[in-house]
């Protein structure tokens, strides 16, 4: 069987018993490993603000529909001036992070002597950049971006509320709001988040912080069915 995947639409990942793969089973073919993601992160929210860029993500890594790892940092500092956040396959993100670290080191050593490395990836134009790249290589720059479910639940909030001259606190509050909405409706979102800030001073990734959530609305708790043993929703 061809390992270049792609053009063989009908090909399924099969385990050694010839069965279709469940999440978590590994393929006999190493190249096919991450064709169907196993441990995944959900939404990342990114936006520019007055002095730089922020990224926000929750700390959950899901295993299929199971909330598997609840304290995973999905943000990463690359070099001195770059912040990376990722949804999707977590192992790919970690591998990519290592690769970028290596590149940053090489860049630093090439730029100056080996003994006194220059800061890697220096700000070329001293302006904030926010870029989105997906697994296929689709790439673009925007004022605000979101991955995964956040593309559907977060982007509308960002379209309505984002302003180019937002303060850091305003930007953080908006990102938190987006992730809160994701938490209410996306079963792979989580109520603990991290916010990374990338500004002139450098990159800083904040501590894991719980977000507020409230499930006690009358519409959610009162009985709506006559048989009396089911709770309501809207």
């Amino acid at each position: 069987m061809c390992s270049s995947c792609s053009l063989h639409h009908r090909r399924r990942d099969l385990n050694d018993r010839g069965r279709a793969m469940a999440p978590g089973q590994y393929s006999m073919d190493a190249k096919q490993h991450t064709m169907s993601p196993v441990v995944t992160g959900a939404t990342v929210i990114g936006m520019k603000y007055k002095d730089g860029v922020i990224l926000a993500a929750d700390t959950l890594a899901s295993y299929g529909n199971e909330a598997r790892y609840k304290d995973v940092c999905r943000l990463k500092k690359i070099g001195d001036h770059t912040l990376l956040g990722a949804g999707g396959e977590i192992s790919d993100f970690q591998y990519l992070g290592d690769l970028l670290d290596e590149m940053a080191d090489e860049e630093a050593c090439d730029a100056r002597s080996v003994l006194v490395p220059a800061p890697p990836f220096p700000l070329q134009d001293q302006a904030p950049h926010l870029m989105y790249v997906d697994h296929q290589g689709t790439a673009f720059e925007e004022d605000f971006v979101a991955t995964g479910f956040g593309m559907h639940l977060g982007i509308p909030l960002l379209r309505n509320n984002w302003k180019p001259d937002m303060s850091l606190d305003e930007a953080k509050a908006l990102a938190t709001k987006c992730l809160e909405v994701c938490f209410y409706r996306d079963c792979k979102a989580y109520c603990k988040i991290q916010i990374g800030v990338c500004a002139g001073a450098g990159v800083e990734i904040g501590p894991p912080t719980p977000i507020n959530h409230f499930w006690g609305h009358t519409a959610w708790t009162e009985n709506r069915l006559e048989d009396g043993d089911s709770t309501g929703t809207w």
Partner: protein, 323 residues
């Protein structure tokens, strides 16, 4: 032929005159049909419970009962029909319990990876006697999502040549980057910029080089040739190309083409009208792109016009609908 019932129905079941389905005679039959539907659903999806309760309600009151879907299903030994080119053995495994009596979970197929994406968008090129007009929208979309409203599809390659690419953005980025590098290499080797004709040929070989894992891009290459005439080249994804007086590609191309046929080539016109001048063609391109934005959900936001003439390349922008 008597009545509405086609002759192949040999039973005497009364049938609905609209759908030709049997008319349901009683609640018991309803129950049987519900039950079969639930069993069939159970075999199709993982999101069903094993036990289903049925409520019969009529004038005489309510009657509940539960049945075990799995047990019913195995008693009936019916299996969903399969896609013809699927391995029947694999399908059987999916729908039957294994030695341990367990059903195997199937990985969700919507997560299967594809190296290709369609990012939509529309571009067009119209050649004049000594000029050429290129127009494209700036929307970058994927499915029903708009990634960004301002992402150019057009790259300037030389002082008198630009390329516009629709299709997959990632491939277009790579292709344009590659072409720009080739422009630099050519200039270093020949101490001049390549002609539009040379670039056209080079683009064709570049695309065909990836014949069996193509760039999913649909390109329009435009410029002023060595004789000073406007040149437009149209490509498919694997490098077939042709010099044409006007062309279009991308998600709205079928909407654009017929208008250009009528307004540029004057095809099927009953009234003679003079050929459009430079400004007329620019305005036509704007109108066409605006109209495509009304009908094609992947086209919109902003339009870019690149007018190439003796003065060089002059880009302008205009608004399309942001919906």
């Amino acid at each position: 032929m008597g009545g509405r019932v086609p002759s192949f129905h040999t039973d005497n079941t009364p049938r609905s005159k609209f759908s030709n389905l049997p008319v349901l005679p009683n609640t018991l039959k309803c129950r049987a049909i519900f039950q079969s539907v639930l069993i069939t659903s159970e075999q199709r999806t993982l999101r069903m419970l094993d036990v289903v309760s049925v409520v019969l309600a009529d004038g005489s009151g309510e009657d509940r009962e539960s049945f075990d879907v799995l047990a019913e299903a195995s008693a009936r030994s019916w299996h969903p029909p399969t896609d013809s080119d699927e391995d029947p053995e694999e399908v059987r495994r999916r729908h039957e319990p294994d030695e341990d009596g367990k059903f195997w979970m199937q990985a969700p197929t919507e997560h299967r990876w594809s190296p290709y994406a369609d990012n939509g968008g529309t571009c067009m090129g119209v050649a004049g006697e000594d000029f050429v007009v290129v127009a494209a929208d700036t929307r970058l979309s994927q499915g029903y999502s708009i990634h960004t409203r301002d992402c150019s599809k057009v790259t300037q390659l030389t002082d008198k040549c630009v390329i516009a690419s629709c299709g997959m953005k990632a491939d277009a980025i790579t292709l344009h980057k590659h072409l720009k590098a080739r422009m630099v290499m050519y200039e270093h080797q020949h101490r001049k910029q390549p002609s539009v004709t040379a670039i056209a040929q080079m683009l064709a070989t570049t695309l065909y080089y990836k014949r069996f894992f193509p760039y999913y891009t649909f390109n329009v290459l435009c410029g002023i040739d060595d004789e000073g005439k406007g040149a437009v080249y149209h490509y498919d994804a694997i490098g077939s190309f042709e010099r044409v007086p006007y062309t279009t590609s991308g998600s709205g191309s079928s909407l654009v083409m017929s208008v250009l046929d009528a307004q540029i080539a004057k095809g099927n016109q009953t009234i003679d009208t003079p050929a459009l001048d430079k400004r007329g063609i620019v305005e036509l391109c704007k109108d066409v792109l605006s109209s495509v934005g009304e009908r094609d959900i992947h086209t919109g936001d902003y339009g870019e016009i690149f007018l190439i003439d003796a003065a060089g390349v002059s880009p302008t922008r205009f608004d399309l609908k942001l919906d």
